[in-house]
């Protein structure tokens, strides 16, 4: 399963370098280039981590969805490996959303938590994909693990729009305090540039993490196979 493909290795190394470079540039943009926000001050800069984390999370869970379907269709372990790798990364970034959210909220709204649509959604999402990871932990048999989590991966992702719809309706009925100068309200062009660059870098970071995690999983699978053969 592990091929020492020279071109693949070179490309990945290139990717690693670009991720590193990109993050450094991103940090500069976020802390130096982007202007200070009028009402919230420097705290607002968390926004450039918070939103891209949310985006990466969604992207990761979408990957889980697609590769879950692929696994049930083709039954090849490689699809399952991608799915679990993406799920783990998704959970990490969802955690980031749930951490940066309160860190931002505290100085701005004087409260650690608000049931905003995004935060509520990510709380539910976090639980769905943690459930995915727990399911994998408590099922025996590689093939079963892959099959069950593929089904749950599909159900979980399809649930996302429905969860979002219900949260929106809930918020309409129980509105949260209106936040002045919220994130949507008119971004300065420099802010927009920073945001888009951050989104871009985070996406590249996602793919880099995904590749590393997939490699790790492949090694783990190979080791387990060797162990099994030795025991036999």
């Amino acid at each position: 399963m592990i091929k020492n493909n020279k071109t693949a290795n070179t490309l990945v190394n290139l990717l690693s370098a670009s991720v590193l470079l990109g993050m450094v540039v991103n940090l500069y943009l976020i802390f130096q280039f982007a202007p200070e926000e009028r009402t919230m001050g420097h705290v607002q800069r968390i926004f450039y981590f918070h939103v891209p984390s949310a985006w990466v999370s969604f992207l990761a869970f979408f990957v889980v969805f697609v590769y879950s379907i692929a696994y049930l269709w083709k039954r090849e372990q490689k699809y399952d490996i991608v799915a679990v790798s993406a799920a783990e990364i998704g959970v990490i970034f969802a955690t980031l959303v749930l951490v940066t959210g309160p860190v931002w909220a505290r100085p701005v709204w004087n409260t650690w938590w608000e049931w905003t649509p995004r935060l509520t959604l990510f709380l539910v999402l976090w639980f769905i994909y943690v459930a995915y990871l727990m399911l994998r932990k408590f099922v025996e048999g590689d093939e079963r693990v892959a099959r069950f989590s593929a089904v749950f991966g599909i159900v979980g992702f399809i649930d996302v729009p429905i969860v979002y719809m219900s949260i929106r309706l809930w918020r309409d009925i129980h509105p949260s305090p209106v936040i002045a100068g919220g994130e949507g309200s008119g971004l300065h062009p420099d802010m927009r540039i920073t945001l888009f660059f951050s989104l871009f870098v985070f996406t590249v970071l996602f793919f880099w993490l995904l590749i590393q995690r997939i490699r790790l999983e492949k090694i783990s699978v190979t080791v387990n196979e060797i162990k099994k053969q030795m025991a036999y």
Binding site: Q77, G141, D142, E143, V221, K228, Q229, Y232
Partner: protein, 246 residues
């Protein structure tokens, strides 16, 4: 294998393989069961015997190879095949809360058995359980449950019977009954494939004997060609030889 033989065979597998990840449970198994034949398959634990039965009974899909049962290819006509096979395993497939009669009625309806009541009465009589017809299965001993399970598997008059270690957990008395039952079925020329640990009983009942070790068929011959007294040693030797190989 000439085409003529294939048409007569009740079960025929060609290079049947089943893998779990990188592990081979079955490796290129070529096996044939002729109509009316009683085939016994022996093998140590982990040989792939249960996997073989599960594939033949449509519970699991093979990874590669062809299987034809009663003229139907396994990967296409599993619905039709299920109508024609009966399975007896070490689990009884019986509902403890329900009576013997209710259990049989249930399966009769699932299998669309015609004139179910008559058939049920007949089978209960055959397995000696007609007096316990209205009793809940939870009150039955293991031997009685196994007998009811036999009745259950024969409800729809299957042309092929698959047995997976049917002697497991049976005491002497129940084992004797099972053997006499299987002997009766054999006399009726019921096509049967039985996997078992029990060398003596298997050899007595079989028309053909096969040995499975590590997923491979290492022995396959007519019972008539086998020296009964020497067979146990032959079995151990083969198992040892193939266990040592990788």
């Amino acid at each position: 294998m000439t085409p003529n033989v294939e048409r007569c065979a009740a079960v025929s597998t060609h290079r049947l393989s089943k893998t779990f990840g990188a592990q081979y449970a079955l490796r290129n198994v070529d096996l044939e069961v002729q109509a009316g034949e009683f085939v016994a398959i022996f093998g140590p634990n982990g040989a792939g015997k249960t996997t073989l039965i599960r594939i033949l009974s449509t519970l699991t899909k093979a990874t590669s190879g062809e299987v034809v049962i009663e003229g139907h290819p396994l990967n296409k006509d599993s619905g039709k095949i299920r109508c024609k096979i009966g399975v007896i395993g070490h689990q009884t497939f019986l509902y403890e809360n329900l009576t013997a009669e209710e259990n049989l009625k249930f399966y009769a309806r699932l299998y669309r058995v015609k004139k179910a009541n008559d058939r049920i009465t007949q089978l209960l009589r055959d397995v000696g359980l007609e007096t316990r017809r209205k009793d809940q299965v939870r009150t039955f001993s293991r031997g009685m449950q196994q007998r009811l399970s036999i009745a259950r598997s024969l409800l729809h008059d299957p042309s092929l019977l698959l047995l997976d270690e049917p002697y497991t957990g049976l005491d002497q008395h129940a084992s004797k009954m099972l053997t006499s039952w299987l002997t009766r079925l054999r006399e009726r020329r019921q096509t049967t494939l039985m996997v078992t640990h029990d060398l003596e009983r298997g050899v007595d009942l079989a028309d053909r004997i096969a040995i499975l070790v590590r997923g491979k068929v290492v022995f396959n011959d007519l019972r008539a060609n086998v020296d009964r007294s020497a067979f146990r040693q032959v079995y151990y030797d083969l198992v040892e030889k193939h266990n040592r190989q990788r």
